[in-house]
Amino acid sequence: MSTTEAQDLLDAIDRCAEEPIHIPGSIQPHGFLLAVDEPQLRVQQASENTQHWLGRDARTLLGQPLSTLLDTDRIQAGLAALAEDDQNPFHVGDVSFNLDGGNERIFALMAHRRDGQLILEFERAGNTRDAYDTLYPLMRTFVTQLQETRELLGLCQLAVKEVKRITGFGRVKAYRFDAEDNGLVLAEEADPGYARYLGLCFPASDIPQQARQLYRENLIRVIQDAYYMPSPLVPPLSPATGEPLDLSFAALRSVSPVHLQYMRNMGTLASMSISIVVRGRLWGLISCHDAEPRQVSYQTRTSCELLGRILALQIEAREVETLTQRKLELRQQIVRLLSAMADHDSVVEGFRQLPDVALAFAGAHGAAIISAETCEAMGETPAYEQIMQLVQWLGKRREQLIFHSDCISRDIPELPELAKHCAGIMAISISHLHAHYLIWFRREQIKTVEWAGQPEKQVDHHSGALSPRHSFERWQQVLGGYATPWEPVEIEGALELRNAVLGIVLRKAEELAQLAGELRASNKELESFSYSVSHDLRAPLRHIAGYTELLSELEGSRLSERGVRFLENIADAASFAGTLVDNLLSFSQMGRSALRLSDVDLGALVASIREELAPDCEGRQIEWQLRPMPIIVADAAFLHMALRNLIGNAVKYTRTREHAVIEIGAEQHLGEVTVYVRDNGVGFDMQYASKLFGVFQRLHRMEEFEGTGIGLASVRRIIERHDGRVWAEGELDQGATFYFSLPKLAYTPLSS
């Protein structure tokens, strides 16, 4: 098909969809129609074929009171009983016309109201008793059998059989519309000689949109003879409204010529369709065909309509049942997943423990859980890179709680590589803030559709009107790139799971917050405990030191040399313990006092620390390599303490070096500054690196290097108070480098 042809076809389909089939302006001629006003009951419009049926030109009937034509008293009660909200034609009664020359005398009168008009349709009266006798028992058996049938196909099969029995059509089939409105034939009963369509698919384009709309409202439509000559209404416009009469619900409504052509192409001359409407949606049709013209009495039609409604209810019940079953299953799976998550205290772990449930839950072939830095995959999934690309793609749609597609190549054209590995995905975001997702994957399901003829209509090149296809030969189409669509219940289930998981995540966050609160409280308690212990320790230490000094002063001359040495040791020990306590106190102080942020010139700070340390450097050969240092925002006093500790250590641990080299510098990275102090001292074994920054952790014997073991702990505490990090690198006897990095902080300078 060339582009022009394709465009022609589309245009024709559009025109077809625009054809106002509810106001055809004519009726099928197997009955006649009168539109009368109320309450006067004067004829406003009449079908032209009154000439045929009544022997009267339609024009002569216009304006006539109905009572001049027939005995209105007999139908008065029936008309009054017409329900206002039911627009379906109702059999008011059989009437006879007081006219001469007509072909028939007794007619079944069907009446309904539309647009303020009373529409009266007259058809040949059948034998009511006969109809009752045959229809009632059939229906009774049918309803009983329907209730006993569980399977959808069985229901359709039963309905088809029953309709065929009631109507006598040569072929009756039931089909169901898929999401795209293509109709798949589920059940079929046909007399010998009729083409079979069971299992075949009729393209959606066979039934234009407005016809579907009409099918949804008016559940039954009969065409008794595809070769009928429509009988126009006289006058064409309703005098009451100035518009064509709306025949949506009229049993005699004339149908589109395109449809008649379609029927003739199919080799059927009579047809009837019964709509199956489930929850307001045109679920399917029972479609009857006959090679010959066929009459369908109103009783039969009414029975069929009723049958259609019963069938629809049964289908709905089965669907609800299936849905409930699936929902229950989903719930159970959600509960299992949630309890696994709760048991392991982790969403990811919960999923990992129950891969089968996680997959079965969504009927997926693979799944992945993406959290901060991890991607946990199970089952059949695309490669890691593709999943991450998908996550990135999803990240741009963060506001969407759920994303699902049964055709990735169509819905995510940006990720062609992904589409090579799976066809369907469903992803739920399980965090408002982070890129945390649960993603299910479905593999491609090659779908083979057996079309009842190539699903393309053709355009009549003379008129430009749509000419229905001529071929109903089987035509096979293989559809690739599609996965089984995600059912609404599965999507709902995924959302439910999402909420539950979010609940867990939130609860965990709450627990963490509570834990943090408790930790803070107990930390504070510990700090005040350590403070008071240190504080109280100081007094006895002071006394020991004081009395030792006094003792050595007063009695020193009388003590032996050893005695004097002991006294000195006591004094040293007390003094050291005092320093220890003081350091501990200032360490606990660091945790308690607030940061006072200001600009800190690191270069100046290093210079002043070097001055302070000058006494320790006396007589030593130290080469200072001082790199340019930035000005940062920090607590000046705390940072002084930290840097002094690090530089002091560098001086201390290079003591054994004849030529000590101490390098101090800083590097600026995105959003943070890293300061380092490097020395060529005794270094340390990296296996103890983690111990370096702990309180009372020492790597050297007291005789080698003095110290309280609090210095680096203080450094860490200070840096961590600034939300920074500390770490160290070193090698035994090869020097050490101590680093700390501080985030770039901001402060509000106090206005002076």
Partner: protein
């Protein structure tokens, strides 16, 4: 007659060491010792056991922060709230610099504080500095040695 130094200290060792330190600083002032805050206030306000003592405030009050019954801060508060006592210089003695109560002491108007050092030598030095400053310089008693020295310094003849 020099005004006395009032020392309020409950711990006997600290008391002894402080007295030795004062002794070594060669201050001529008499040292009056009180062992808790309540007793100190009685002395200052001349009530109870001290109702009969002679009029006059001490030259300086060396007040331990932690005291039984009425603690140092409360004593300080009472002093600052009593018009007749308000002008007494108060030096707080504390066990450590990290004392959170120090801030409160400042708010209540303490004149100085001394962290009792572990090293006795340092303690002696701190106490003599204090004594010289508060007991002598602030209100120089006539005829004192150090006064003369100060005078000489101020007004060289």
């Amino acid at each position: 007659m020099l005004k006395p130094i009032l020392l309020v200290e409950d711990n006997p060792h600290d008391l002894e060491l402080t007295l030795i330190a004062l002794e070594r600083s060669q201050l001529a002032n008499e040292v009056v010792i009180m062992r808790d805050g309540a007793e100190a206030l009685s002395y200052l306000l001349r009530t109870d056991n001290y109702a009969g003592r002679a009029d006059g405030n001490p030259a300086v009050l060396l007040l331990d922060l932690k005291l039984p019954k009425v603690d140092g801060l409360e004593v300080l508060k009472s002093i600052r709230e009593t018009p007749e006592l308000r002008s007494i210089p108060v030096v707080m003695l504390t066990s450590s610099r990290e004392e959170p109560d120090l801030l409160k002491a400042y708010e209540l108007g303490v004149n100085a504080y001394v962290v009792k050092p572990v090293e006795f030598k340092d303690f002696v030095a701190a106490i003599s500095d204090l004594g010289i400053f508060w007991a002598v310089l602030n209100e120089p008693p006539p005829g004192s040695l150090r006064l003369k020295r100060t005078r000489q310094h101020d007004d060289p003849i």
